[in-house]
Symmetry: C2
Subunit: 340 residues, 2 copies
């Protein structure tokens, strides 16, 4: 791979695509060329980035000639159609959709957790995990290393940013209608989202779980390489603009205590910080992580039901660590090469 590389973003006009640009700048990822790709509808639009004017180009099968790293965030069907073209043209695809996550020949990577996996990508594709899974595992992976994670029982509080720009626009419009009178219009969500919560993210499967809830199970197993990990999850959409929160009961193989868990984070865990002092009413909220790279963990307590278990609360910016940042961190990892 050339270094500095030619980077392309497919889905550059979406909420995550725009954030990928921010993250490239934030992380000072070097590049020789930057190509922004989107649908024909957006082609020709100009984007100002780091003092340069970039023109959005239409995404086509031949968009990837000379591209080294192709960041995809334009939905699963676009990824399925175009990622193979990008890989065939010699690019390494980092795909934010769920299209390839469970493909055995596609690694599923959180750079702080399983960076080595990024370098074994036989199809030329690396998958970015589901946002709720990334944020949950940012809290759990350091504890797993110390105490051996056995199972997870989780309930999520997911922001509308998870539905992209359209989800944010729908909440905004409903806030306006609630404040100023007017009809509450629903297009993205099956129910009103302002002043409501909806226990339904992604589609329902036969066993009554949603696809989103199953992602937590399957993706956590793959990322942690723990095929026996037990995960029960209830995914809920809440009227928050961005940043997902997850309430977790985590069960470990080894005995665990609040002090020992806090000490794990205290050792400096990259990408996740402790925000946990009940005596000062200190705990993370979605607003605390909005626009931030680090996930925050708090409310660590001994679970009152299960042995060797902790209750905890983790919050992370869904658009950043839950999507764009993680993808850009994978790109950064590829450029740095495997740590020896």
């Amino acid at each position: 791979m050339k270094n500095p590389p030619h980077i392309a973003i497919a889905g550059a006009t979406g909420a995550v695509g725009i954030e990928m640009l921010e993250c490239l700048a934030d992380l000072k990822v070097p590049y020789a060329e930057l190509t922004l790709l989107a649908s024909a509808r957006s082609a020709g639009k100009k984007v100002e980035f780091q003092g340069e004017e970039l023109t959005i180009q239409e995404l086509t099968p031949s968009s990837f000639e000379g591209v080294d790293i192709a960041l995809f965030s334009a939905g699963g069907s676009i990824s399925k159609e175009f990622a193979p073209h990008a890989a065939a043209a010699g690019a390494v695809v980092i795909d934010n959709s769920s299209a390839f996550r469970m493909d055995e020949e596609v690694p599923l990577v959180v750079p702080e957790i399983n960076p080595e996996a990024a370098f074994d990508h036989p199809r030329g594709i690396i998958a970015n995990p589901n946002c709720t899974t990334i944020i949950s595992l940012m809290a759990l992976a350091p504890l797993h290393k110390a105490f051996g994670l056995k199972s997870i029982i989780a309930s999520s509080y997911q922001a509308v940013s998870g539905s992209g720009a359209a989800g944010i626009a729908e909440l905004d419009a409903q806030v306006q209608a609630l404040a100023n009178g007017g009809e509450i219009v629903r297009e993205v969500y099956p129910h009103q989202i302002v002043s409501n919560v909806i226990p339904h993210v992604d589609v329902f499967l036969e066993d009554g779980y949603t696809k989103e809830e199953l992602k937590m199970l399957n993706e956590s197993r793959k990322i942690l390489a723990q095929p026996e990990l037990g995960v029960t999850c209830t995914c809920v959409r809440v009227p928050v603009h961005r940043s997902h929160s997850v309430s977790i009961t985590a069960v470990f193989d080894k005995p665990v205590s609040v002090e020992a868990a806090r000490a794990v984070y205290g050792d400096g865990t990259p990408g996740v910080s402790l925000c946990d002092d009940p005596t000062q009413a200190l705990y993370p909220t979605p607003l605390d992580t909005t626009g931030k790279n680090d996930c925050l963990v708090g409310r660590i307590r001994e679970d009152k039901v299960l042995p060797n278990a902790l209750a905890l609360w983790v919050v992370g910016d869904q658009v950043r660590k839950g999507a764009a940042l993680n993808a850009v961190q994978i790109a950064e990892l590829l450029l740095k090469g495997p740590s020896s």
Copy 2:
């Protein structure tokens, strides 16, 4: 007790007090006289109720002469001060605060669950349970009867109505500020509540749990008469006006299945209905129960972590079944007398 009785409401101008009036009308509770009590600040205000004009009177130790049933919802310190005066005057107090809930001589009653307890009130006081506890147990008690409840792991999504009229006003004002520009003012909650969630309801205790979370443990044990019941709870405030939701993993003594659980509710469980058809994306949301008496239960699934366990989602109007309705139902129960 006279029947029809003389009923008094202490805290008649609060969110729950106003709803108690609605519930008295809804349930057609007979009364000979109705006395509305509040602080000196509200004394003299007029309230129109069922075609009658009632004048708010100042709550004093001598307010309860001739009163048969005194409904209290003016906060714990008012209850502690005035409930003994009401009881001494011969009234049965039904107290919505947490002041007496764990008193061994005060029954803690949900009429659909432990109605018999209401008739053993040696101190002349009956306690109304915590709202999240009532709503959770409305879903769990029928399952407990069928399968034997062993433990509960719960995460709540609690509406601002739980903080009374002030909580609702704070969310309203913040919605206005978000929609129209302006400062987000915080008085009731330690953090912005609009477009945010706050994992902090009531005060923190030494073990890192909040009082609200401990109420779920202690009150559930008392109501179900299950002193060994295990409960881990994370209570979270969400930007919803009224109706609390709870995501629950419930562990049972006996084997349980989704079908068997659904059948339990199908038999007609008073006060709680099934709203659960994933094939139609049917599940309850807070808006579905707002202003309604029944709690709704959905998202019933076999838990993927624990044996003999179900994941489920219950929603109920916090001001109604979580507070005012339950208290008025206790009054109704007292008037009907114990079932023989």
